[in-house]
Protein backbone atom coordinates (compact mmCIF):
# COMPACT_ATOMS: atom_id res chain seq x y z
CA UNK A 1 0.00 0.00 0.00
CA UNK A 2 2.66 2.50 1.01
CA UNK A 3 5.96 2.29 -0.79
CA UNK A 4 7.77 5.37 0.35
CA UNK A 5 7.17 6.57 3.87
CA UNK A 6 8.39 10.07 4.53
CA UNK A 7 10.97 10.85 7.19
CA UNK A 8 8.26 12.53 9.23
CA UNK A 9 6.21 9.37 9.11
CA UNK A 10 9.16 7.26 10.18
CA UNK A 11 9.91 9.53 13.13
CA UNK A 12 6.26 9.34 14.11
CA UNK A 13 6.44 5.55 13.89
CA UNK A 14 9.40 5.45 16.20
CA UNK A 15 7.76 7.87 18.60
CA UNK A 16 4.56 5.79 18.66
CA UNK A 17 6.53 2.61 19.26
CA UNK A 18 8.37 4.26 22.14
CA UNK A 19 5.14 5.46 23.75
CA UNK A 20 3.63 1.99 23.50
CA UNK A 21 6.74 0.33 24.87
CA UNK A 22 6.64 2.78 27.76
CA UNK A 23 2.99 1.88 28.44
CA UNK A 24 3.90 -1.83 28.39
CA UNK A 25 6.79 -1.29 30.78
CA UNK A 26 4.56 0.68 33.12
CA UNK A 27 2.09 -2.19 33.06
CA UNK A 28 4.70 -4.87 33.62
CA UNK A 29 7.07 -3.14 36.04
CA UNK A 30 4.90 -3.51 39.20
CA UNK A 31 4.62 -7.24 38.56
CA UNK A 32 8.32 -7.50 37.75
CA UNK A 33 9.16 -5.62 40.95
CA UNK A 34 7.19 -8.04 43.10
CA UNK A 35 8.55 -10.97 41.14
CA UNK A 36 12.17 -9.97 41.85
CA UNK A 37 11.28 -9.13 45.43
CA UNK A 38 10.00 -12.65 45.90
CA UNK A 39 13.45 -14.02 45.05
CA UNK A 40 15.31 -11.48 47.16
CA UNK A 41 17.09 -12.67 50.22
CA UNK A 42 15.79 -11.18 53.45
CA UNK A 43 19.08 -9.49 54.36
CA UNK A 44 19.28 -7.35 51.21
CA UNK A 45 18.51 -3.72 51.97
CA UNK A 46 15.49 -2.65 49.95
CA UNK A 47 16.21 1.05 50.17
CA UNK A 48 17.93 0.85 46.80
CA UNK A 49 16.38 -0.08 43.49
CA UNK A 50 17.46 -3.20 41.67
CA UNK A 51 16.33 -4.46 38.31
CA UNK A 52 17.64 -7.85 39.36
CA UNK A 53 18.29 -8.30 43.07
CA UNK A 54 21.87 -8.98 44.15
CA UNK A 55 21.23 -12.02 46.29
CA UNK A 56 18.78 -14.54 44.87
CA UNK A 57 17.12 -17.08 47.08
CA UNK A 58 14.24 -19.51 47.12
CA UNK A 59 13.77 -19.35 50.88
CA UNK A 60 10.77 -16.99 50.57
CA UNK A 61 8.99 -19.60 48.49
CA UNK A 62 9.97 -22.32 50.92
CA UNK A 63 8.45 -20.25 53.74
CA UNK A 64 5.29 -19.25 51.90
CA UNK A 65 4.56 -22.68 50.45
CA UNK A 66 5.02 -24.37 53.81
CA UNK A 67 2.58 -21.91 55.40
CA UNK A 68 -0.49 -23.94 56.31
CA UNK A 69 -2.90 -21.02 55.86
CA UNK A 70 -1.75 -20.40 52.29
CA UNK A 71 -2.07 -24.06 51.34
CA UNK A 72 -5.55 -24.22 52.86
CA UNK A 73 -6.44 -21.05 50.98
CA UNK A 74 -5.15 -22.52 47.74
CA UNK A 75 -7.23 -25.66 48.17
CA UNK A 76 -10.34 -23.69 49.13
CA UNK A 77 -9.92 -21.44 46.10
CA UNK A 78 -9.59 -24.42 43.78
CA UNK A 79 -12.67 -26.09 45.29
CA UNK A 80 -14.79 -22.96 45.05
CA UNK A 81 -13.62 -22.26 41.50
CA UNK A 82 -14.40 -25.77 40.25
CA UNK A 83 -17.67 -26.21 42.12
CA UNK A 84 -18.81 -22.65 41.49
CA UNK A 85 -18.02 -22.82 37.78
CA UNK A 86 -19.75 -26.18 37.28
CA UNK A 87 -22.90 -24.97 39.05
CA UNK A 88 -22.93 -21.58 37.36
CA UNK A 89 -22.30 -22.84 33.83
CA UNK A 90 -24.92 -25.59 34.01
CA UNK A 91 -27.53 -23.27 35.50
CA UNK A 92 -26.76 -20.58 32.93
CA UNK A 93 -27.20 -23.00 30.03
CA UNK A 94 -30.36 -24.50 31.52
CA UNK A 95 -31.83 -21.01 31.84
CA UNK A 96 -30.66 -19.64 28.53
CA UNK A 97 -32.00 -22.47 26.38
CA UNK A 98 -35.72 -22.18 27.25
CA UNK A 99 -35.47 -18.40 26.93
CA UNK A 100 -34.05 -18.82 23.45
CA UNK A 101 -37.00 -20.93 22.23
CA UNK A 102 -39.59 -18.73 20.58
CA UNK A 103 -42.44 -21.11 21.50
CA UNK A 104 -41.84 -20.80 25.27
CA UNK A 105 -45.00 -19.81 27.15
CA UNK A 106 -44.81 -16.52 29.08
CA UNK A 107 -41.46 -15.94 27.43
CA UNK A 108 -41.72 -12.19 27.98
CA UNK A 109 -42.42 -12.68 31.66
CA UNK A 110 -39.55 -15.11 32.21
CA UNK A 111 -37.13 -12.92 30.27
CA UNK A 112 -37.94 -9.78 32.25
CA UNK A 113 -37.90 -11.84 35.45
CA UNK A 114 -34.23 -12.51 34.69
CA UNK A 115 -33.27 -9.13 33.19
CA UNK A 116 -34.71 -7.05 36.05
CA UNK A 117 -32.03 -8.48 38.34
CA UNK A 118 -29.38 -6.72 36.24
CA UNK A 119 -30.76 -3.34 37.20
CA UNK A 120 -31.98 -3.64 40.77
CA UNK A 121 -30.39 -5.43 43.67
CA UNK A 122 -30.95 -5.61 47.37
CA UNK A 123 -27.41 -4.55 48.13
CA UNK A 124 -24.77 -5.87 50.49
CA UNK A 125 -26.67 -5.95 53.76
CA UNK A 126 -29.89 -7.72 52.70
CA UNK A 127 -27.83 -10.32 50.81
CA UNK A 128 -25.64 -10.83 53.86
CA UNK A 129 -28.66 -11.24 56.12
CA UNK A 130 -30.17 -13.72 53.66
CA UNK A 131 -27.06 -15.91 53.67
CA UNK A 132 -27.07 -15.72 57.45
CA UNK A 133 -30.76 -16.64 57.70
CA UNK A 134 -30.36 -19.54 55.28
CA UNK A 135 -27.66 -20.95 57.55
CA UNK A 136 -25.03 -20.83 54.81
CA UNK A 137 -22.50 -18.95 56.94
CA UNK A 138 -19.10 -20.60 56.98
CA UNK A 139 -19.97 -23.09 54.24
CA UNK A 140 -18.74 -23.25 50.68
CA UNK A 141 -22.35 -22.77 49.52
CA UNK A 142 -22.19 -19.15 50.64
CA UNK A 143 -19.47 -18.68 48.02
CA UNK A 144 -20.99 -20.54 45.09
CA UNK A 145 -24.78 -20.17 45.40
CA UNK A 146 -25.37 -16.39 45.65
CA UNK A 147 -23.58 -15.83 42.32
CA UNK A 148 -24.80 -19.01 40.61
CA UNK A 149 -26.59 -17.30 37.72
CA UNK A 150 -25.74 -13.96 36.23
CA UNK A 151 -28.49 -12.41 34.12
CA UNK A 152 -25.85 -10.98 31.81
CA UNK A 153 -24.36 -14.40 31.05
CA UNK A 154 -27.84 -15.83 30.50
CA UNK A 155 -28.58 -13.16 27.91
CA UNK A 156 -25.24 -13.71 26.15
CA UNK A 157 -25.86 -17.47 25.96
CA UNK A 158 -29.49 -16.99 24.96
CA UNK A 159 -28.50 -14.72 22.08
CA UNK A 160 -26.05 -17.32 20.85
CA UNK A 161 -28.66 -20.09 21.07
CA UNK A 162 -31.12 -17.92 19.12
CA UNK A 163 -28.59 -17.63 16.31
CA UNK A 164 -28.49 -21.43 15.89
CA UNK A 165 -30.47 -22.35 12.73
CA UNK A 166 -33.96 -23.41 13.74
CA UNK A 167 -33.87 -26.32 11.29
CA UNK A 168 -31.34 -28.12 13.50
CA UNK A 169 -33.69 -28.08 16.47
CA UNK A 170 -36.80 -28.75 14.42
CA UNK A 171 -35.38 -31.79 12.69
CA UNK A 172 -34.36 -33.25 16.04
CA UNK A 173 -37.90 -32.62 17.26
CA UNK A 174 -39.35 -34.47 14.27
CA UNK A 175 -37.08 -37.37 15.20
CA UNK A 176 -38.88 -37.40 18.53
CA UNK A 177 -36.21 -35.85 20.71
CA UNK A 178 -37.42 -33.85 23.72
CA UNK A 179 -35.93 -30.51 24.72
CA UNK A 180 -33.49 -32.01 27.24
CA UNK A 181 -32.06 -34.28 24.57
CA UNK A 182 -31.98 -31.46 22.02
CA UNK A 183 -30.12 -29.20 24.42
CA UNK A 184 -27.58 -31.89 25.22
CA UNK A 185 -27.09 -33.41 21.78
CA UNK A 186 -27.74 -30.52 19.40
CA UNK A 187 -27.47 -27.12 21.04
CA UNK A 188 -24.52 -27.59 23.42
CA UNK A 189 -22.20 -29.20 20.80
CA UNK A 190 -22.61 -26.26 18.41
CA UNK A 191 -22.34 -23.67 21.20
CA UNK A 192 -18.98 -24.71 22.62
CA UNK A 193 -17.25 -21.38 21.82
CA UNK A 194 -19.75 -19.33 23.83
CA UNK A 195 -19.83 -21.90 26.62
CA UNK A 196 -16.02 -21.80 26.82
CA UNK A 197 -16.16 -18.00 27.03
CA UNK A 198 -18.72 -17.98 29.81
CA UNK A 199 -16.90 -20.77 31.67
CA UNK A 200 -13.67 -18.78 31.66
CA UNK A 201 -15.39 -15.59 32.81
CA UNK A 202 -16.95 -17.39 35.72
CA UNK A 203 -13.78 -19.30 36.62
CA UNK A 204 -11.59 -16.18 36.68
CA UNK A 205 -14.22 -14.33 38.71
CA UNK A 206 -14.25 -17.17 41.26
CA UNK A 207 -10.47 -17.30 41.40
CA UNK A 208 -10.29 -13.57 42.10
CA UNK A 209 -13.30 -13.33 44.42
CA UNK A 210 -12.51 -12.44 48.02
CA UNK A 211 -15.21 -10.25 49.53
CA UNK A 212 -17.75 -13.04 49.95
CA UNK A 213 -15.17 -15.22 51.68
CA UNK A 214 -14.20 -12.29 53.89
CA UNK A 215 -17.74 -11.80 55.18
CA UNK A 216 -19.28 -15.28 54.88
CA UNK A 217 -16.52 -17.75 55.76
CA UNK A 218 -14.77 -16.43 58.80
CA UNK A 219 -13.14 -19.54 60.17
CA UNK A 220 -9.54 -19.84 58.99
CA UNK A 221 -10.01 -23.31 57.51
CA UNK A 222 -12.67 -22.05 55.07
CA UNK A 223 -10.98 -18.91 53.75
CA UNK A 224 -9.92 -18.60 50.14
CA UNK A 225 -6.44 -17.70 48.97
CA UNK A 226 -7.22 -14.05 48.23
CA UNK A 227 -8.39 -13.49 51.79
CA UNK A 228 -5.39 -15.24 53.30
CA UNK A 229 -3.16 -13.16 51.05
CA UNK A 230 -4.98 -9.99 52.03
CA UNK A 231 -4.38 -10.74 55.68
CA UNK A 232 -0.67 -11.34 55.11
CA UNK A 233 -0.32 -8.18 53.03
CA UNK A 234 -2.15 -6.03 55.54
CA UNK A 235 -0.23 -7.39 58.52
CA UNK A 236 2.00 -4.63 59.73
CA UNK A 237 0.49 -1.84 57.65
CA UNK A 238 -0.51 -0.16 60.87
CA UNK A 239 3.19 0.09 61.77
CA UNK A 240 3.97 1.34 58.30
CA UNK A 241 1.60 4.21 58.97
CA UNK A 242 4.37 5.94 60.90
CA UNK A 243 7.48 4.72 59.14
CA UNK A 244 10.23 4.38 61.67
CA UNK A 245 13.81 4.07 60.58
CA UNK A 246 14.50 1.63 63.38
CA UNK A 247 11.64 -0.57 62.29
CA UNK A 248 12.89 -0.81 58.75
CA UNK A 249 15.19 -3.73 59.36
CA UNK A 250 12.28 -5.75 60.70
CA UNK A 251 10.10 -4.88 57.73
CA UNK A 252 12.57 -5.82 55.07
CA UNK A 253 11.93 -9.46 55.64
CA UNK A 254 8.14 -9.28 55.64
CA UNK A 255 8.15 -7.24 52.42
CA UNK A 256 9.74 -10.14 50.58
CA UNK A 257 7.31 -12.61 52.15
CA UNK A 258 4.36 -10.42 51.17
CA UNK A 259 5.66 -10.16 47.63
CA UNK A 260 6.08 -13.93 47.44
CA UNK A 261 2.52 -14.46 48.66
CA UNK A 262 1.19 -12.12 45.98
CA UNK A 263 3.19 -13.89 43.28
CA UNK A 264 2.03 -17.33 44.44
CA UNK A 265 -1.61 -16.21 44.28
CA UNK A 266 -1.21 -14.48 40.94
CA UNK A 267 0.99 -16.86 38.96
CA UNK A 268 -1.90 -19.18 37.99
CA UNK A 269 -3.70 -16.21 36.41
CA UNK A 270 -0.53 -14.83 34.80
CA UNK A 271 0.22 -18.21 33.25
CA UNK A 272 -3.21 -18.80 31.72
CA UNK A 273 -4.28 -15.26 30.82
CA UNK A 274 -2.40 -14.93 27.50
CA UNK A 275 -4.28 -18.01 26.29
CA UNK A 276 -7.70 -17.15 27.63
CA UNK A 277 -7.72 -13.41 26.95
CA UNK A 278 -9.07 -13.86 23.42
CA UNK A 279 -12.21 -15.46 24.85
CA UNK A 280 -12.65 -12.48 27.14
CA UNK A 281 -12.16 -10.04 24.30
CA UNK A 282 -14.79 -11.89 22.31
CA UNK A 283 -17.12 -11.60 25.29
CA UNK A 284 -16.65 -7.84 25.48
CA UNK A 285 -17.51 -7.61 21.81
CA UNK A 286 -20.69 -9.66 22.20
CA UNK A 287 -21.70 -7.41 25.07
CA UNK A 288 -20.93 -4.28 23.10
CA UNK A 289 -22.89 -5.38 20.03
CA UNK A 290 -25.84 -6.17 22.24
CA UNK A 291 -25.48 -2.75 23.83
Amino acid sequence: MIKHRSIGDRTADIFIALVLILICLTTLYPFWYLFTLSFTSGDVSLTRMYLIPPKLTLENYAKVLSDGAILTGFINTIIRTVLGTVIAVSCTILTAYPLSRKELVHKKFFTSFVIITMFVSGGTIPSYLLVKTLGLMDTIWALVLPTAISAYNVIIARNFFISIPDSLVESAKIDGANDLVILWKVVIPVSLPIIATITLWIAVAHWNAWFDSLIYTQSASKQVLQVVMRRIILEGTQDMMNPDAAEEAMHVNTETIKATTVIVATVPILVVYPFIQKYFVKGVMIGAVKG
Binding site: M1, D9, D13, L20, I23, C24, T26, T27, P30, Y33, L34, L37, L46, T47, C91, T95, Y97, P98, R101, L104, V105, T117, F119, V120, S121, G122, G123, T124, I125, P126, S127, L129, L130, K132, I149, N178, D179, L180, L183, V204, N208, W210, M229, R230, M240, M241, P243, A245, E248, E255, V262, I269, L270, Y273, Q277, F280, V281, V284, M285, A288
Partner: protein, 314 residues
Amino acid sequence: MLKKEKKSTEVTGSRLTSSIYWKQRYLLIMLIPAIVYFIVFHYIPLYGVTIAFKDYKFTEGILGSSWVGLEHFKRLFSLESFWQVFRNTIVISLWKFVIGFPAPIIFSLILNEVLNQKFKKCVQTISYLPHFVSWVVLGGILTQLLSPSTGPVNIVLKALGFDPIYFLADSRYFRGVLVVSHVWKSIGWGSIVYIAALTSSDQQVHEAAMIDGANRLQRIFHITIPEIMPVITIMLILSVGGLINDDFDQVFNLYNTAVYDVGDVLSTYTYRLGLVDLEYSFATAVGLFKNAISIVLVLSTNTICRKINDYAIW
Protein backbone atom coordinates in the same frame (compact mmCIF):
# COMPACT_ATOMS: atom_id res chain seq x y z
CA MET B 1 -51.33 -28.71 38.66
CA LEU B 2 -54.62 -28.17 40.42
CA LYS B 3 -55.33 -25.24 38.17
CA LYS B 4 -54.63 -27.39 35.16
CA GLU B 5 -57.15 -30.09 36.07
CA LYS B 6 -59.86 -27.57 36.79
CA LYS B 7 -59.29 -25.72 33.56
CA SER B 8 -59.32 -28.83 31.42
CA THR B 9 -62.99 -29.38 32.22
CA GLU B 10 -63.77 -25.89 30.94
CA VAL B 11 -63.63 -24.43 27.46
CA THR B 12 -61.36 -25.77 24.73
CA GLY B 13 -59.33 -22.54 24.73
CA SER B 14 -58.01 -23.04 28.24
CA ARG B 15 -57.50 -26.74 27.61
CA LEU B 16 -55.16 -25.62 24.86
CA THR B 17 -53.19 -23.46 27.31
CA SER B 18 -52.92 -26.26 29.80
CA SER B 19 -51.68 -28.59 27.13
CA ILE B 20 -49.03 -26.03 26.18
CA TYR B 21 -47.64 -26.26 29.68
CA TRP B 22 -47.57 -30.02 29.34
CA LYS B 23 -46.03 -29.88 25.89
CA GLN B 24 -43.32 -27.54 27.11
CA ARG B 25 -42.74 -29.37 30.38
CA TYR B 26 -39.06 -29.92 29.64
CA LEU B 27 -38.46 -26.26 28.90
CA LEU B 28 -40.29 -25.31 32.09
CA ILE B 29 -38.39 -27.87 34.18
CA MET B 30 -35.13 -26.35 32.91
CA LEU B 31 -36.28 -22.99 34.19
CA ILE B 32 -36.93 -24.22 37.74
CA PRO B 33 -33.38 -23.74 39.08
CA ALA B 34 -33.30 -20.21 37.70
CA ILE B 35 -36.69 -19.32 39.14
CA VAL B 36 -35.75 -20.63 42.57
CA TYR B 37 -32.35 -18.96 42.38
CA PHE B 38 -33.59 -15.54 41.33
CA ILE B 39 -36.40 -15.53 43.88
CA VAL B 40 -34.13 -16.59 46.74
CA PHE B 41 -30.98 -14.66 45.93
CA HIS B 42 -32.35 -11.60 44.16
CA TYR B 43 -36.01 -10.97 44.85
CA ILE B 44 -35.92 -11.80 48.56
CA PRO B 45 -32.94 -9.45 49.19
CA LEU B 46 -34.86 -6.90 47.14
CA TYR B 47 -37.70 -7.29 49.59
CA GLY B 48 -35.10 -7.18 52.37
CA VAL B 49 -34.47 -3.56 51.42
CA THR B 50 -37.57 -2.74 53.47
CA ILE B 51 -35.38 -2.96 56.58
CA ALA B 52 -34.15 0.50 55.58
CA PHE B 53 -37.55 1.63 56.89
CA LYS B 54 -37.54 -0.66 59.92
CA ASP B 55 -35.65 -1.15 63.12
CA TYR B 56 -34.18 -4.47 62.08
CA LYS B 57 -33.31 -7.02 64.73
CA PHE B 58 -31.88 -10.33 63.62
CA THR B 59 -33.90 -12.28 66.20
CA GLU B 60 -37.17 -10.82 64.93
CA GLY B 61 -36.40 -11.18 61.22
CA ILE B 62 -37.39 -8.83 58.44
CA LEU B 63 -41.14 -9.31 58.89
CA GLY B 64 -41.13 -9.08 62.68
CA SER B 65 -39.06 -5.91 63.04
CA SER B 66 -41.05 -2.74 63.65
CA TRP B 67 -41.48 0.06 61.10
CA VAL B 68 -39.74 3.35 61.76
CA GLY B 69 -40.57 5.16 58.52
CA LEU B 70 -37.94 7.55 57.25
CA GLU B 71 -36.10 7.67 60.58
CA HIS B 72 -32.84 6.25 59.17
CA PHE B 73 -32.84 8.58 56.20
CA LYS B 74 -33.43 11.61 58.42
CA ARG B 75 -30.50 10.61 60.58
CA LEU B 76 -28.41 9.86 57.52
CA PHE B 77 -28.99 13.20 55.85
CA SER B 78 -28.17 15.05 59.07
CA LEU B 79 -24.79 13.32 59.38
CA GLU B 80 -21.81 15.36 58.29
CA SER B 81 -19.85 12.14 57.69
CA PHE B 82 -22.44 10.98 55.15
CA TRP B 83 -22.15 14.14 53.08
CA GLN B 84 -18.38 13.88 53.27
CA VAL B 85 -18.58 10.32 51.89
CA PHE B 86 -21.07 11.40 49.24
CA ARG B 87 -18.76 14.20 48.11
CA ASN B 88 -15.78 11.82 48.04
CA THR B 89 -17.72 9.38 45.88
CA ILE B 90 -18.71 12.05 43.37
CA VAL B 91 -15.28 13.74 43.24
CA ILE B 92 -13.40 10.44 42.81
CA SER B 93 -15.87 9.23 40.17
CA LEU B 94 -15.61 12.48 38.25
CA TRP B 95 -11.81 12.40 38.25
CA LYS B 96 -11.83 8.77 37.14
CA PHE B 97 -14.25 9.74 34.39
CA VAL B 98 -12.33 12.82 33.21
CA ILE B 99 -9.03 10.95 32.96
CA GLY B 100 -10.17 7.34 32.62
CA PHE B 101 -12.65 7.91 29.82
CA PRO B 102 -10.38 9.48 27.18
CA ALA B 103 -7.35 7.33 28.11
CA PRO B 104 -8.43 4.12 26.32
CA ILE B 105 -9.55 6.14 23.29
CA ILE B 106 -6.14 7.78 22.99
CA PHE B 107 -4.46 4.44 23.60
CA SER B 108 -6.44 2.74 20.83
CA LEU B 109 -5.75 5.64 18.43
CA ILE B 110 -2.02 5.31 19.07
CA LEU B 111 -2.22 1.54 18.71
CA ASN B 112 -4.11 1.94 15.46
CA GLU B 113 -1.12 3.75 13.94
CA VAL B 114 1.07 0.69 14.45
CA LEU B 115 1.64 -1.21 11.21
CA ASN B 116 3.49 -4.20 12.63
CA GLN B 117 0.66 -6.55 13.57
CA LYS B 118 2.79 -8.72 15.84
CA PHE B 119 3.94 -5.74 17.90
CA LYS B 120 0.35 -4.50 18.08
CA LYS B 121 -0.95 -7.86 19.35
CA CYS B 122 1.83 -8.03 21.89
CA VAL B 123 1.09 -4.54 23.27
CA GLN B 124 -2.62 -5.37 23.43
CA THR B 125 -2.05 -8.60 25.33
CA ILE B 126 0.21 -6.90 27.86
CA SER B 127 -2.23 -4.04 28.33
CA TYR B 128 -5.01 -6.50 29.26
CA LEU B 129 -2.98 -8.04 32.06
CA PRO B 130 -4.08 -5.83 35.00
CA HIS B 131 -7.72 -6.56 34.19
CA PHE B 132 -7.22 -10.19 35.19
CA VAL B 133 -5.74 -9.41 38.57
CA SER B 134 -7.89 -8.70 41.61
CA TRP B 135 -7.70 -5.51 43.64
CA VAL B 136 -6.45 -7.54 46.59
CA VAL B 137 -3.32 -8.34 44.59
CA LEU B 138 -3.05 -4.85 43.16
CA GLY B 139 -3.53 -3.41 46.64
CA GLY B 140 -0.58 -5.48 47.79
CA ILE B 141 1.50 -4.42 44.80
CA LEU B 142 0.68 -0.73 45.26
CA THR B 143 1.43 -0.83 48.97
CA GLN B 144 4.89 -2.13 48.14
CA LEU B 145 5.52 0.16 45.17
CA LEU B 146 4.50 3.27 47.08
CA SER B 147 6.04 2.35 50.43
CA PRO B 148 7.85 5.42 51.81
CA SER B 149 10.93 3.45 52.84
CA THR B 150 11.37 0.64 50.32
CA GLY B 151 9.04 1.48 47.42
CA PRO B 152 10.73 2.19 44.07
CA VAL B 153 8.60 5.28 43.53
CA ASN B 154 9.91 6.91 46.67
CA ILE B 155 13.45 5.70 46.02
CA VAL B 156 13.31 7.61 42.74
CA LEU B 157 11.82 10.66 44.48
CA LYS B 158 14.58 10.57 47.07
CA ALA B 159 17.24 10.21 44.38
CA LEU B 160 15.83 13.33 42.74
CA GLY B 161 16.16 15.17 46.02
CA PHE B 162 12.50 15.14 47.11
CA ASP B 163 11.16 14.04 50.45
CA PRO B 164 9.52 10.62 50.39
CA ILE B 165 5.73 10.73 50.16
CA TYR B 166 3.46 8.21 51.85
CA PHE B 167 0.92 8.19 49.04
CA LEU B 168 -1.51 5.80 50.70
CA ALA B 169 -1.71 7.62 54.02
CA ASP B 170 -1.63 11.23 52.85
CA SER B 171 -4.94 12.93 52.16
CA ARG B 172 -3.36 15.09 49.49
CA TYR B 173 -2.29 12.15 47.35
CA PHE B 174 -4.76 9.36 48.05
CA ARG B 175 -7.36 10.35 45.44
CA GLY B 176 -4.59 10.67 42.90
CA VAL B 177 -3.50 7.12 43.67
CA LEU B 178 -7.09 5.91 43.17
CA VAL B 179 -7.43 7.68 39.83
CA VAL B 180 -4.03 6.69 38.44
CA SER B 181 -4.31 3.06 39.51
CA HIS B 182 -7.83 2.92 38.05
CA VAL B 183 -6.56 4.19 34.69
CA TRP B 184 -3.58 1.84 34.86
CA LYS B 185 -5.84 -1.16 35.45
CA SER B 186 -8.51 -0.34 32.89
CA ILE B 187 -6.80 1.42 29.97
CA GLY B 188 -6.02 -1.72 27.97
CA TRP B 189 -9.28 -3.49 28.63
CA GLY B 190 -11.32 -0.35 27.97
CA SER B 191 -9.69 0.06 24.58
CA ILE B 192 -11.08 -3.24 23.18
CA VAL B 193 -14.31 -1.69 21.98
CA TYR B 194 -12.53 1.16 20.22
CA ILE B 195 -9.90 -1.09 18.66
CA ALA B 196 -12.68 -3.24 17.24
CA ALA B 197 -14.40 -0.16 15.83
CA LEU B 198 -11.11 1.01 14.34
CA THR B 199 -10.27 -2.27 12.60
CA SER B 200 -13.57 -2.16 10.76
CA SER B 201 -12.79 1.33 9.46
CA ASP B 202 -12.68 1.97 5.74
CA GLN B 203 -9.10 1.85 4.39
CA GLN B 204 -10.07 3.43 1.06
CA VAL B 205 -11.02 6.70 2.71
CA HIS B 206 -7.61 6.82 4.35
CA GLU B 207 -5.82 6.10 1.08
CA ALA B 208 -7.81 8.76 -0.72
CA ALA B 209 -6.96 11.27 2.01
CA MET B 210 -3.30 10.32 1.77
CA ILE B 211 -3.29 10.91 -1.96
CA ASP B 212 -4.84 14.31 -1.27
CA GLY B 213 -1.87 15.04 0.98
CA ALA B 214 -3.51 14.76 4.41
CA ASN B 215 -0.93 14.05 7.09
CA ARG B 216 -1.28 11.60 9.94
CA LEU B 217 -2.78 13.94 12.51
CA GLN B 218 -5.21 15.35 9.96
CA ARG B 219 -6.33 11.84 9.09
CA ILE B 220 -6.76 10.93 12.76
CA PHE B 221 -8.84 14.01 13.52
CA HIS B 222 -10.89 14.13 10.33
CA ILE B 223 -11.38 10.48 9.47
CA THR B 224 -10.56 8.11 12.34
CA ILE B 225 -12.18 9.94 15.23
CA PRO B 226 -15.41 10.74 13.35
CA GLU B 227 -15.54 7.06 12.36
CA ILE B 228 -15.53 5.83 15.95
CA MET B 229 -17.68 8.70 17.22
CA PRO B 230 -20.85 6.55 17.56
CA VAL B 231 -18.98 4.09 19.78
CA ILE B 232 -17.49 6.94 21.82
CA THR B 233 -20.96 8.45 22.32
CA ILE B 234 -22.44 5.20 23.57
CA MET B 235 -19.52 4.51 25.90
CA LEU B 236 -19.73 8.08 27.17
CA ILE B 237 -23.40 7.75 28.02
CA LEU B 238 -22.86 4.37 29.65
CA SER B 239 -20.08 5.68 31.86
CA VAL B 240 -22.19 8.65 32.94
CA GLY B 241 -24.77 6.06 33.99
CA GLY B 242 -22.18 4.43 36.23
CA LEU B 243 -20.88 7.61 37.89
CA ILE B 244 -22.36 6.85 41.31
CA ASN B 245 -20.97 3.31 41.32
CA ASP B 246 -17.72 3.57 43.21
CA ASP B 247 -15.16 0.79 43.07
CA PHE B 248 -15.52 -0.97 46.41
CA ASP B 249 -12.73 -3.48 45.76
CA GLN B 250 -10.25 -0.77 44.88
CA VAL B 251 -10.96 1.61 47.75
CA PHE B 252 -11.34 -1.14 50.32
CA ASN B 253 -7.96 -2.64 49.51
CA LEU B 254 -6.12 0.67 49.46
CA TYR B 255 -7.64 2.93 52.09
CA ASN B 256 -6.95 3.24 55.81
CA THR B 257 -8.08 5.46 58.64
CA ALA B 258 -5.55 8.15 57.70
CA VAL B 259 -7.35 8.90 54.42
CA TYR B 260 -11.02 8.32 55.30
CA ASP B 261 -11.62 12.07 54.91
CA VAL B 262 -10.85 11.94 51.17
CA GLY B 263 -11.10 8.26 50.26
CA ASP B 264 -14.13 6.83 52.04
CA VAL B 265 -16.90 6.20 49.48
CA LEU B 266 -20.54 5.10 49.70
CA SER B 267 -19.88 1.38 49.33
CA THR B 268 -17.09 1.25 51.91
CA TYR B 269 -19.20 3.41 54.24
CA THR B 270 -22.10 0.98 53.85
CA TYR B 271 -19.80 -1.93 54.55
CA ARG B 272 -18.44 -0.45 57.77
CA LEU B 273 -21.84 0.67 59.02
CA GLY B 274 -23.48 -2.66 58.27
CA LEU B 275 -20.91 -5.37 58.72
CA VAL B 276 -18.54 -3.78 61.22
CA ASP B 277 -20.87 -1.65 63.36
CA LEU B 278 -23.79 -4.06 62.67
CA GLU B 279 -26.22 -1.19 62.04
CA TYR B 280 -28.08 -3.27 59.46
CA SER B 281 -31.03 -0.97 58.89
CA PHE B 282 -28.98 2.19 58.72
CA ALA B 283 -26.46 0.67 56.30
CA THR B 284 -29.28 -0.62 54.11
CA ALA B 285 -30.64 2.93 53.96
CA VAL B 286 -27.27 4.14 52.64
CA GLY B 287 -27.22 1.31 50.09
CA LEU B 288 -30.76 2.07 49.01
CA PHE B 289 -29.95 5.75 48.58
CA LYS B 290 -27.04 4.84 46.31
CA ASN B 291 -29.02 2.24 44.35
CA ALA B 292 -31.86 4.70 43.79
CA ILE B 293 -29.50 7.26 42.26
CA SER B 294 -27.83 4.53 40.24
CA ILE B 295 -31.12 3.29 38.78
CA VAL B 296 -32.20 6.81 37.82
CA LEU B 297 -28.84 7.40 36.11
CA VAL B 298 -28.86 4.06 34.28
CA LEU B 299 -32.46 4.34 33.13
CA SER B 300 -32.09 7.91 31.88
CA THR B 301 -28.82 7.18 30.08
CA ASN B 302 -30.34 4.04 28.57
CA THR B 303 -33.20 6.13 27.21
CA ILE B 304 -30.79 8.68 25.75
CA CYS B 305 -28.76 5.85 24.26
CA ARG B 306 -31.78 4.33 22.56
CA LYS B 307 -32.78 7.68 21.12
CA ILE B 308 -29.33 8.31 19.73
CA ASN B 309 -29.15 4.80 18.33
CA ASP B 310 -32.47 5.24 16.56
CA TYR B 311 -31.30 8.54 15.25
CA ALA B 312 -28.12 6.93 13.97
CA ILE B 313 -30.12 4.23 12.22
CA TRP B 314 -32.10 6.90 10.41
